[in-house]
Symmetry: C2
Subunit: 384 residues, 2 copies
């Protein structure tokens, strides 16, 4: 029997954030595909589309008119409540008794906002200037603070669905912000995992010089990223890093080119804790990640992206106080993109994945290697 090699032998890896495993089948890389072919991801869009309900001056689904929101052209964003919100604002109706313990049902209240990234219909994160992306980061901080200080709200989920393949119904670059009266399942699971890790000093292995969370306790993500930064560059999972942020394909990645983005110099619980320099660094890493994604298969790369952080923002006076239980959270961004082999062949998380556990066909290390090899210059911006 040959020695085990994760680059070629089937194995499963553990995701310490969610407690779930992923089955990795590295030997299965080249199986033929006779299944569904995705339509080309449209790359040439007009600057302004008169039929788009997000473009400046146009009419929205609700019948309301967008203003021009172009005070500072190329740098302006717009935020408004979703015309078809999945939750309704407080106060909601009171809960009623459950007829049987197997029928748990809790009322939910909250708000859903839409954040338009830019007036231009065609400029995704991958095409926007750093100044424009920084403006989006500022909007995220603002909405996190605003919605997070409203009554009944317990969690703010910021995310973006990009591309028709990921259920996005409008190519005009935009994201969403859902403020909810409960902490959703996955965010709650991650917070529990971070708390469990912090409570167990035995978990804190070398290198022990990694940053620490509240009360000087070990942080799962500080330790994880510290270890990743120590792996030889060409063998590891890191794609790119700048002064404050790093982007990598996590050890436990499920989606073929899944990426985790997080700060690595210090334990940062939320967007509200970012310094000005850190915000610029975040904008820079988001730009680099999305450019590499588009360059990988020369298309507008679809994904779902989301922010996990402290459930609610700290008060102004609490922001300096790291020793707060809620600061167990370590700010990070997940990118879950479906494409597998080309702009038209995606991975389906179905069947075994829905009944058993996630499965992937090549290693995260190989995915990282391919994303590292991509340019930071967007292929559409290349001058011949």
């Amino acid at each position: 029997i040959e020695p085990f090699d994760p680059a070629s032998h089937p194995h499963r890896r553990f995701n310490p954030l969610t407690g779930e495993y992923v089955l990795v089948s590295p030997h299965r890389n080249n199986r033929p595909w006779q299944g569904q072919i995705e339509p080309p991801q449209q790359i040439t869009l007009p600057h302004h589309d008169p039929k788009c309900y997000l473009c400046p001056g146009n009419e929205r689904a609700s019948g309301q008119n967008n203003d021009t929101y172009e005070h500072t052209m190329y740098e302006h964003t717009k935020i408004f409540p979703n015309d078809y919100a999945s939750v309704l604002p407080p106060p909601g109706p009171a809960a009623r008794a459950t007829p049987h313990p197997l029928f748990v049902c809790e009322p939910v209240v909250g708000t859903c906002d839409v954040l338009i990234f830019h007036p231009r219909h065609d400029l995704t994160l991958a095409r926007l200037s750093l100044t424009a992306i920084t403006r989006i980061v500022d909007e995220w901080v603002g909405v996190y603070r605003r919605r997070g200080s409203q009554q009944s709200i317990k969690y703010i989920q910021i995310f973006e669905n990009k591309g028709a393949m990921m259920g996005c119904s409008n190519p005009h670059p935009h994201g969403q912000i859902w403020a909810l009266s409960h902490i959703p399942t996955i965010a709650a699971t991650e917070l529990t995992s971070l708390a469990r890790y912090a409570a167990n000093p035995g978990n804190h292995m070398e290198p022990s010089e990694s940053p620490r969370g509240p009360f000087g306790r070990p942080c799962l993500l500080c330790d994880y990223i510290h270890f990743e930064l120590g792996v030889a560059e060409d063998q590891g999972r890191i794609i790119v890093h700048n002064e404050h942020f790093v982007a990598l394909v996590p050890w436990w990645a499920v989606w073929p080119f899944e990426i985790l983005v997080l700060p690595y110099h210090r334990h940062i619980p939320s967007l509200a804790h970012l310094t000005h320099e850190e915000k610029l660094s975040l904008a820079d890493v988001l730009s680099k990640v999305t450019k590499r994604y588009d360059n990988l298969f020369s298309c507008s790369f679809a994904y779902s992206m989301g922010v996990h952080q402290r459930p609610l923002p700290p008060s102004e006076e609490d922001i300096q106080n790291i020793d707060d239980e809620d600061n167990i959270a370590h700010l990070h961004f997940h990118f879950f993109p479906p494409l597998l082999r080309s702009a038209s062949i995606r991975k389906f998380l179905v069947g075994f994945e829905l009944m058993g556990e996630a499965q992937r066909d090549f290693t995260p290390e190989l995915a990282a290697q391919r994303l590292r090899a991509c340019s930071d210059v967007h292929y559409l911006d290349l001058v011949e």
Copy 2:
């Protein structure tokens, strides 16, 4: 404030099998859809396709030739190892030490089989005779026993991906059987939930006359289905039931028309425990469920279907002994179909669902009502 009404107010429901919640937004039923439109689900296929690698007599991806497997035409199935298996047979390489507790990696061995449901290229479960479906049930029992008694194997996952939308690369009706050296995440979570429920007698509410699991302890699914059967027929979630099996949209359904199929007369841990009558009853309920699915939007309805049961089959002598810890499992089938509003508009579980928790736009009760209203006669078999 009006009293809470789950038929119209946003709320979340708890799935006691997985420990996850689903956010239900009943008020959001009629939002317009400008996103991706699915291609028509092909309904007229030839009886035999010379290019299909599953049709009798044709060549497979591996270069091997299928035999005719038509000993008893319309009643024969065929089973063979997948040419592109996601795992490799034992013995596999030995595990190696983990460099850090955050980098857990376990070798996996096993086998992947393909089960062709029928020689006919065009006959899905919804179109097959009860005799033909019973033959498939017999094959499942056989492969569960065979693969489940092999060395190193700890779990058998039986499933079917149907339709291009669900990642199926060949419309010739077939399913898969993965035998693995570990219990996959979701199956393990369900088993833990069943064990926790059984260990807590406080959980066992009225009606107390529901069947019980091993050692006379309460079974989560026996109790659940017993309660469901007591709800007034037109207000509940049950779609259809026959002598031994019931099909319903579970209280915690995530997919728009998700269905759970399970036996309700007695606690049945696995396919191997089924009597001949129960197998016929299972074939009948699978036929009725898939016919109603096709009739809902008059198309070949896509889904992922999977069996959860006792991880490994009991020995011949153990089959009569219900008092065995492994018999905590209660045999059930999950159907996860993506279609939402028509044959061309699907639900996307993206963004909020991937970062927070599952979300649905109309209630499971409404879904059940619509599936109840569908005929048991397949729309293609209707004589004008």
